[in-house]
């Protein structure tokens, strides 16, 4: 059994699709970017599914479904420009899942708790405004936390059904959930603002172009460490 943060190999998925698994071949091949995680320490049957889309054209429609409380849209829709890295998002998922298994969710369900766990303050609405999908969102991340055995009580699903549903609902191009993609779409200034992190002073006697990228990388990981700490401290009084 998979306990690790291993993504299920893409070739497996194509194979299962070719074997006439319950999703049509075309959709499965097109939507190979959905990734399944089993985070450490959490019960192995608890799975986190992550799918990413770029060039999304129907963000207002998706947001409307969430506002209307459409039960078939039981996902966390996240604006990718607020996410620094895979670790950033998965840490929020970890806390959401941990609170879920310990029966202490603050929001409606696990999916919304993922968005809430990204926030550094205790305001749920504020968390959705900052990290959730907006009408202008172009790059989005869709997260679903659930039971890999299928079903969360209200409905049954599996990786294939999530995938086909999302590919149908989201008008955008699927893309891998990778750090390099996030690096491109993430807005560092926005992240700093969301977590109230002061912008670092420009270095006196600026460094050479050579060392520049290295410097930027360092800053990024520094910000990430801070962000994770602030997320962990949310709710502490």
């Amino acid at each position: 059994m998979e306990f690790s943060l291993a993504s299920v190999a893409k070739s497996d998925l194509r194979e299962s699709a070719a074997k006439g698994f319950d999703v049509p071949l075309l959709v499965a091949v097109e939507g190979i970017m959905i990734e399944e995680f089993h985070l450490s320490h959490l019960p192995p049957e608890l799975a986190v599914y992550v799918a990413c889309y770029t060039d999304v054209k129907n963000a207002p429609y998706l947001r409307q479904q969430l506002l209307a409380g459409n039960q078939t849209f039981n996902y966390a829709f996240i604006d990718a420009s607020t996410i620094l890295s895979r670790r950033h998002l998965l840490t929020a998922c970890f806390r959401a899942c941990n609170d879920y298994i310990h029966d202490r969710l603050k929001s409606n369900n696990v999916q919304s708790e993922v968005v809430f766990c990204l926030s550094s303050n205790n305001n749920i609405g504020d968390a959705f405004r900052r990290f959730g999908i907006s009408d202008e969102s172009k790059d989005i991340i869709v997260v679903k936390v659930g039971d890999s055995a299928g079903g969360d009580g209200s409905q049954t699903y599996n990786k294939g059904s999530i995938e086909s549903h999302l590919n149908e609902a989201v008008e955008g191009t699927g893309i891998d959930f990778s750090d390099s993609w996030l690096k491109g779409v993430c807005n560092l200034d926005k992240v700093r603002k969301n977590y109230k992190i002061a912008k670092p002073q420009p270095v006196k006697g600026a460094k050479t172009v050579n060392g520049d990228s290295d410097e930027a990388l360092n800053r990024r990981s520094e910000v990430e460490v801070q962000v994770l700490g602030l997320m962990a401290l949310r709710g502490a009084t």
């Binding site: 049957e45 941990n98 298994i101 029966d103 700490g229 502490a236």
Partner: protein, 342 residues
């Protein structure tokens, strides 16, 4: 509902005397106990996936304290530590990049394992969970009653998940140097001795600078500065496998001198407080001085000159350092307690 627990959940290994709180109780691979203090147990484990090492610091609840008081104290302490770590993590390198504070980042935090949604206790919770047809617990083959019972009898306390710091402590490093010198005996050339001494001195200056940065930029007093609470992290070895292997080879050859290069990382902020008082800072230095002197007698004589007085050490690290060092002289005369009370 009769369910067989043994088939679904492996029993905790008999070597661990302490049961970890949920969700770490059945973690695979199991967390390894590294060290234990009066208040906390420190485990090495992993975060998100098994390839990312992490430190789990668990503060079990103390049975001899009144439950309400216990929960409050444990919470206050674990939160104080986490806040200081997050605060110092935000200080980072600034400007010249010389004055930097490195601390492990906080990855996860739980200040009360037994914490529940307001008002939902015991029996109420059973009803709540039964109401939700398919709670996560039932998937684990446990009935709700069993789960509630387990939770109530289970470990209480608080935990922090932190970044794992590669490298080794200053204590280990300096002991390594001592052992190396002893083994080589007369064979050490004068040049080599001089080079090694210079390396040790450089390390000591960097410690002084790091403490200074923590005091000034962080506004934090560590409270328990010792050479085992200061780590030397190899610069390139930020979680790189290649580096770990290399170190392993070094250790097996066992005659080489430990590498003292790398960045200083301060750990264990369990007794830290946020303070900018000269007195508190001076006491912090005094504690380090006494601890260092008794742990590393060979290097004791260098402490004042390198760690404290050197321009690249504490004195040069921030503006108010002179005043603190002046105060330190007073503290040395009287000891660390100013008042006679407590």
């Amino acid at each position: 509902m009769p369910t067989d627990l043994t088939t679904t959940i492996p029993a905790p290994s008999p070597t661990t005397t302490h049961v970890l709180p949920s969700p770490f109780t059945y973690s695979q691979p199991a967390p390894v106990l590294l060290t234990q203090g009066a208040e906390a147990l420190v485990y090495k484990t992993h975060f998100l996936d098994p390839s990312t090492p992490a430190i789990l610091k668990f503060r079990p609840s103390k049975a001899y304290r009144h439950p309400t008081l216990d929960a409050r104290l444990t919470k206050q302490r674990v939160l104080a530590e986490a806040r200081v770590l997050v605060k110092l993590g935000g200080v980072g390198a600034e400007g010249d990049g010389l004055c930097e504070v490195n601390v492990p980042g906080v990855l996860g935090l739980e200040w009360d394992v037994g914490r529940k949604v307001k008002g939902a206790e015991g029996a109420v919770r059973v009803r709540r969970t039964q109401g939700q047809e398919q709670g996560p617990s039932q998937r684990r083959g446990q009935s709700v009653e069993e789960r509630v019972k387990e939770e109530e009898g289970g470990q209480k306390g608080a935990w922090i998940l932190m970044e794992f710091v590669e490298g080794r402590s200053v204590k280990e490093s300096l002991r390594g140097v001592d052992a190396y010198v002893k083994r080589r005996g007369e064979a050490t050339s004068q040049e080599e001795t001089a080079r090694m001494n210079e390396e040790v001195k450089s390390l000591m200056r960097r410690i002084g600078r790091a403490v200074g940065a923590m005091h000034s930029r962080g506004g934090v007093v560590h409270g328990d500065l010792t050479s085992s609470n200061v780590m030397v992290r190899p610069r390139a070895g930020k979680g790189l496998n290649g580096h770990a292997e290399q170190r392993h080879e070094e250790e097996s050859s066992s005659i080489s001198c430990p590498d003292l290069k790398g960045e200083i990382v301060l750990i264990d902020f369990g007794l830290a407080t946020q303070s900018i008082q000269d007195e508190d800072r001076a006491v912090d230095l005094y504690v380090l001085e006494r601890a260092f002197g008794s742990t590393h007698p060979r290097q004791e004589d260098w402490f004042d000159a390198e760690v404290l007085q050197h321009q690249d050490g504490y004195r040069g690290s921030f503006k108010g350092a002179n005043v603190v060092l002046k105060r330190l002289e007073e503290v040395r005369m009287r000891g660390r307690k100013r008042s006679m009370i407590g």
